[in-house]
């Protein structure tokens, strides 16, 4: 074939196969479109395997997520799956929480062995979230099978959390999500996710999605759209900040990934629409658990090389 397939990336300092990067983008974009998660947990390690330095892989992935989540948000917006009001509240909370999280991580690092704490938190969070979602959606799928009803009425338990949420001031309607609550709740929960994702150094989609499903009681399809809407802004922030302080964003790499992932995200959104909410949840839960086991394995198995590059931040 005469079409050149290799392209040199000046920021990554290496050349890559265009088709391989495009395919990788497409596969991860598909997952992103279905579940409303950024997909950084998959993309970054695969890019490193292709010879991209770790810091460049993570930062460039954020850049491509900007595009992929734009495309995904647009697709979900058309399907009526984005609760803009809720998304903005979670975003404001997330930004504030992220700032607090960065300070916490500085203190942890000063105390020493912060990495240990981060990794253990990561495994525990993924294990808890993935395990809970998996069991819950499995039970819900079984229940749905028993009665002949198509859409069994969801019965909101009057838990202590629900009573606390109802007691908060300025209760308002969130039409898209079909819930009524105080704006303080998404602000606070967004902040909490922001703190955790800053500590763990991840986008936060994994934690945000279950928070929206179980604590904000939003319908799964709206959760996915709203999560993508929020990720869009988070990743713009990361792209600009990384470009300024670490020069690790490889825009060409991001662009190739983006074309693949945007196409994947569109297909993903359509697949997601065809799946039942519980099916979506159980698939996401499985994905979360797979990632958890991968991290756990890396913690237990002896690494090939006992040295690792330190990121520029």
């Amino acid at each position: 074939m005469s079409i050149p397939m290799e392209l040199y990336l000046p920021i990554a300092g290496n050349s890559v196969n265009i088709a391989a990067v495009f395919g990788l983008g497409g596969a991860v974009g598909l997952l992103s479109g279905i579940f409303g998660v950024g997909g950084g947990f998959l993309m970054t390690p695969l890019l490193i395997m292709m010879g991209i330095p770790p810091t460049v892989a993570a930062a460039s992935d954020s850049n491509q997520i900007v595009g992929a989540s734009t495309s995904g948000t647009l697709a979900h917006l058309r399907l009526g799956n984005v609760d803009v009001k809720m998304g903005l509240l979670l975003l404001i909370g997330g930004v504030l929480g992220g700032t607090v999280g960065v300070e916490i991580i500085k203190v942890l690092r000063a105390m020493g062995n912060a990495d240990f704490l981060i990794n253990v938190t990561y495994v525990l969070m993924l294990g808890l979230v993935g395990g809970y979602m998996f069991i819950e959606s499995l039970q819900s799928m079984r229940k749905a099978k028993a009665p002949a009803k198509n859409e069994p009425e969801k019965h909101v338990k009057s838990s202590a959390f629900a009573r606390f949420a109802a007691s908060l001031p300025w209760q308002m309607e969130f039409k898209r999500s079909g819930v009524r609550m105080s704006p303080l709740l998404p602000l606070f929960l967004g902040g909490l996710v922001g703190v955790l994702s800053a500590i763990m150094g991840v986008g936060g989609g994994f934690i945000m999605v279950p928070v929206m499903v179980y604590l904000l009681r939003m319908p799964m399809h709206v959760v996915v759209g709203t999560s993508l809407f929020q990720i869009l802004f988070t990743c713009i922030n990361v792209t600009v900040m990384q470009s300024i302080s670490n020069h690790t964003v490889d825009f060409v790499l991001a662009l190739i990934l983006l074309v693949g992932s945007s196409l994947g995200a569109q297909v993903g959104a359509k697949i997601g629409k065809k799946l039942h909410g519980d099916q979506l949840k159980i698939l996401l839960a499985s994905l979360v658990l797979v990632v958890m086991f991968k991290i756990l394995y890396e913690l237990i198995a002896r690494p090939d090389v006992l040295l690792a590059y330190v990121g520029g931040h």
Binding site: Y8, T239, Y309
Partner: protein, 249 residues
């Protein structure tokens, strides 16, 4: 006074002759590497002559750099974690070694020219770090990245004439190459010692689109970040709109 002038003149006359006798005459083509959009690694053709009866070691090394790394260790005797921060100094970005015979057969100097010998020049901080176990790890990491390589047999020895022997080799330069100054070094060894050595500089520089992008990214970071975000958004929107028009049936 006359004797002193005579001595100096004799020495001056002898100098070039001595360097020619012990020296190596070689060429490295191309003399510079241009890293353009379609760069995917290149090869350097090295040809020349060494003193007869010697073996040749060829090295392509990049400018030394300092690296900040984490040492992995077991936390609480169970989990592998990034532990101590280490500073490696004087680590070449790239080090590709080839020879006309296995380095282990070329005596003490032969071994010194190999990757293990190269690691001896590397410094490690803090001083309490176990250099003996860390340096092989560093070499393994660089080998995995394709930036360090040691082989033998790639340098071919040719015809002998006038006390000199021809040699030639093709050095495969990896695609993972940063711009900078690199060096092609040729060593002639006999009986475990270096008889002669010579070096030539090969400059690698970015050209075309990679040069423009690197300039924007490193010198105008904020604009680069904003531009990267805007283009990503526009790209995402464009693809979204294409799907919208296709989906409207």
């Amino acid at each position: 006074m006359k004797r002193a002038v005579f001595l100096i003149l004799t020495l001056l006359m002898c100098l070039p002759a001595a360097s020619r006798a012990a020296g190596i005459d070689f060429t490295a083509e191309p003399a510079g590497i241009e890293i353009g959009t379609l760069y995917k690694g290149t090869s350097i053709q090295v040809e020349g002559r060494v003193p007869e009866g010697t073996q040749v070691v060829l090295r392509f090394t990049g400018a030394p750099e300092d690296l900040r790394m984490k040492e992995k260790g077991k936390a609480m005797g169970l989990l592998w974690m990034n532990m101590n921060t280490l500073h490696f100094g004087n680590v070449p970005k790239v080090c590709l070694i080839d020879a006309s015979a296995p380095l282990k057969d070329l005596g003490l100097d032969g071994a010194r020219l190999g990757l293990t010998g190269l690691a001896d020049a590397v410094t490690v901080e803090p001083a309490t770090a176990d250099k003996a176990s860390l340096l092989p790890e560093l070499v393994t990491l660089k080998e995995k990245e394709g930036l360090f390589r040691q082989s033998s047999g790639g340098v071919k020895l040719g015809e002998k004439r006038d006390g000199l022997q021809a040699f030639s080799a093709t050095l495969a330069v990896p695609s993972r190459l940063s711009p900078g100054s690199y060096s092609v070094e040729v060593f002639a060894l006999r009986d475990g010692t270096i008889q002669a050595q010579a070096a030539k500089t090969v400059d690698a520089r970015l050209v075309g689109a990679p040069a423009l992008l690197a300039d924007l990214a490193f010198n105008h970071g904020a604009w680069y970040g904003i531009l990267a975000s805007i283009i990503a958004i526009l790209g995402g929107l464009a693809i979204g709109l294409v799907f919208q028009s296709k989906g409207a049936h």
